[in-house]
Symmetry: C2
Subunit: 463 residues, 2 copies
């Protein structure tokens, strides 16, 4: 009697210890966040039944029993729209789910059989998994916290490449004549800020990723508020802090600078303070194939954006982030998504390219002792890998349906295993096509290595 | 020398004292807030030139010199889109401006010559006028602060009239079977909440005004968040506080009740705390004519909604509001808008009807010693008043262009000076038409008695 009570108590304590995990999913726009989170929830709900999760020991051993959606703890955060996403995927013809805007959340209770407690195999335990989805663009704002308005202006002005400059031309023509010392004209600043926001919008549509300030792209309720109406001031190229500090509060410089500070304090900080620092695990999704498709300037731009984004996970002792918010993410995954858009023998190259793209941030993270894993995956597999015989040679191919509804059998090309050099771009050996999701008859969503990602992110909590 | 210095100093002090005024404009949706604020800014900018502001002594005496837009102090509040509104009014054909969503703000600096300082007539002074525009629906949420979830549920269930019930039918069918003690199913509650929000939406489109919770109609960034997913629980009709308090935290009752409290604390309170309590003056716009047009149940509903809305201005010592936020509004105007939609001899009746509609709240306000004035006005006059001779009798008429572009000459009917009795509704003597704004050649916007409203709201600060 006494012994069974003691054991019962020990179980309770053990369950209590690992009872909760907060897992965040991010990535730049179009990296596949919504598909990833939808499939993740779908696999866990079908675990123990139709889901194929062989790369996840808890599932392979039959210990993963399933998951149930329960009420989320943060009442003010939109719920991740899982049902709407599944509706789109189950439509005829199937559609990709609508992308989410801003942050969203979903809580699952996962039921599993602990592995260690062999004697009591029939006992089950529960893990409460809070899932979060937020735009990677928000992480691009982190460096803003370490800059003042002058530094930020100079950094932005220095960074733009040739193609970005074309998109910025209209804004630049309007902004270049602004005298930092002149009195601010509210309506004029609003107009020039609108041009700046439009240039960011256009850059995103043209495939650029390194876009600051991130909230200009998704203003939400702040549409039209002065806090979203600042921009780099070209005339600051020749200015010094000392001169600028003397300018009156109604000057253009002081006005824009005050808005910049408000953005730091009331937009960037609250995200890190209220959300980011509470995440336990994080996966960052990257659309590497899309960037290769888009050419060298955009690929370079993605690389810079990812470098910036990854700073949010570098908890070296001296990092700005650690000083400000003491975040606690203890495990990180980086995934190249849409692996189903290339043939299977290219997957290793895809992972290698992702690692090459992130070489520097990955070194920093490993130095800072943050466990991190890079992989390639398809959260929802839209194609079938096949082999075709061409001139007596068997070559790999993909069968799928394009977004326009055309059924195709194709070889999209080879993925370079290293950062592409100049001649790669002139060869143009890559033909990336977007596929629509495949029709299916209920059951779990098909995927590639989502189970590997899941195991890395939550597997240790299911022991 | 010394005397002039002293006088200079006195001037400075006097200017300092009255330098700032925060004026808020509200009203239920479609009451004409955007038109009012646009015209107000337009008149002040044209003051001293083309604006006709004869009912405003400062303007009549030539002391009102004009106004300039300057940077607003609240960087996180959207700017009132004055330029876009003027663009719509100046289009060919002219359009009514897009309604604003949520709160917006605009700061004017008004330049005027003080009246009292006769000796120094050439001196000018400045008044900084902060204008705010927010949905009257937000004020309908005030009573929520004084209720708990049980009380609120019962009040909502008791209130709905026959036509509202029809709109609520689908929601009620889904909600009536919910057992407060059963475990909450997240997805089911979200679905039923969506039905409730849709019924509110439908009620608004059908002309109802008394809609709670107000934020369900304009969710903004909170779209999909659990805090906007509660509703009255029909089964609570037979419940007691004591029984309900015992229900577990996962029960339907406890879940909805927690969301209700979150709504109180994180949505209703912040508006009163961060904005409302800082307003100095307030004008409430009411579309009385629209409500008469819509029939008895909706007119009754508007009357109830206005009663609720006006509670926000009743600063009797024992009021909930005074205890919570100590607001400081010291002058209030209530205006029946769209007076240009009836012939001029009906304007007195329109004002009288407004006073009758608000009789009780007005009595409370006067008892609480809040100076309040009721009037009728047209912020932007869209019609011309004329007289036509019919069967040898001269009768008043309106000439205007309908929204569809048809030019008409008509007599819209008589406005009752008292609350309409049953037989008024059967006679149906009223034919309210919507007109589009008139084309114009620059200059100030035409209006009816906007100057009277302005004088009541800011005139004393221009002495």
């Amino acid at each position: 009697m006494r012994q069974s009570l003691t054991r019962e108590l020990a179980n309770l304590v053990e369950r209590g210890r690992d009872r909760q995990l907060r897992l965040a999913v991010t990535g730049l726009s179009r990296s596949g966040k919504t598909a990833f989170l939808t499939s993740l929830v779908n696999q866990l709900r079908h675990a123990g039944l139709e889901a194929r999760l062989d790369l996840m020991p808890a599932a392979r051993e039959g210990r993963l029993l399933g998951a149930r959606r329960v009420s989320q703890p943060d009442l003010g955060v939109p719920r991740f729209p899982y049902d709407q996403a599944m509706e789109a995927l189950d439509a005829d013809p199937p559609r990709w789910p609508e992308p989410t805007r801003g942050i969203s959340e979903l809580r699952l209770t996962i039921r599993y059989r602990p592995a260690r407690r062999k004697l009591l195999r029939s006992e089950t335990a529960e893990l409460s998994l809070d899932l979060f989805d937020y735009p990677g663009e928000w992480l691009l704002d982190l460096p803003l916290l370490g800059h003042d308005y002058l530094d930020w202006s100079l950094a932005m002005l220095a960074e733009a490449g040739e193609q970005r400059r074309v998109l910025l031309a209209e804004w630049e023509a309007a902004a270049v004549g602004l005298d930092p010392a002149a009195e601010a004209n509210e309506a004029e600043l609003a107009d020039i800020a609108a041009l700046y926001a439009r240039s960011l919008q256009a850059a995103r549509e043209a495939g650029f990723a390194n876009l600051q300030p991130g909230r200009f792209l998704l203003p939400g309720d702040l549409e039209g508020a002065p806090v979203l109406q600042f921009f780099p001031l070209p005339a600051l190229r020749d200015a010094t802090h000392a001169e600028l500090a003397k300018l009156p509060s109604r000057s253009i410089y002081a006005t824009l600078s005050a808005r910049f500070r408000h953005y730091q304090q009331h937009i960037v900080r609250p995200f890190y303070r209220d959300h980011f620092r509470r995440f336990d695990r994080q996966i960052v999704l990257v659309d590497v194939l899309g960037a290769i498709n888009a050419g060298p300037e955009r690929f370079e731009d993605l690389s810079r954006a990812l470098g910036t984004l990854m700073q949010s996970f570098d908890y070296g002792k001296r990092s700005l982030l650690s000083r400000l918010f003491s975040p606690r993410i203890d495990r990180l995954a980086i995934a190249a998504t849409k692996a189903d858009h290339v043939t299977p023998e290219q997957h290793a190259n895809l992972t290698a390219l992702l690692e090459a793209l992130l070489a520097e941030p990955l070194q920093d993270l490993r130095y800072a002792d943050v466990p991190v894993k890079a992989l390639s995956l398809a959260a929802i597999r839209a194609t079938e890998a096949q082999e075709v015989t061409h001139q007596n040679q068997r070559t790999p191919a993909l069968r799928g349906t394009t977004l326009e509804g055309e059924e195709v059998l194709m070889f999209p090309g080879e993925v370079p295993a290293r950062l592409p050099e100049a001649d790669f771009w002139t060869r143009q050996g890559f033909d990336f096509r977007a596929f629509r999701p495949a029709s299916r008859e209920g059951g779990a969503l098909p995927h590639i290595r989502l189970d590997a990602a899941l195991d890395w992110l939550i597997g240790d909590k299911l022991q």
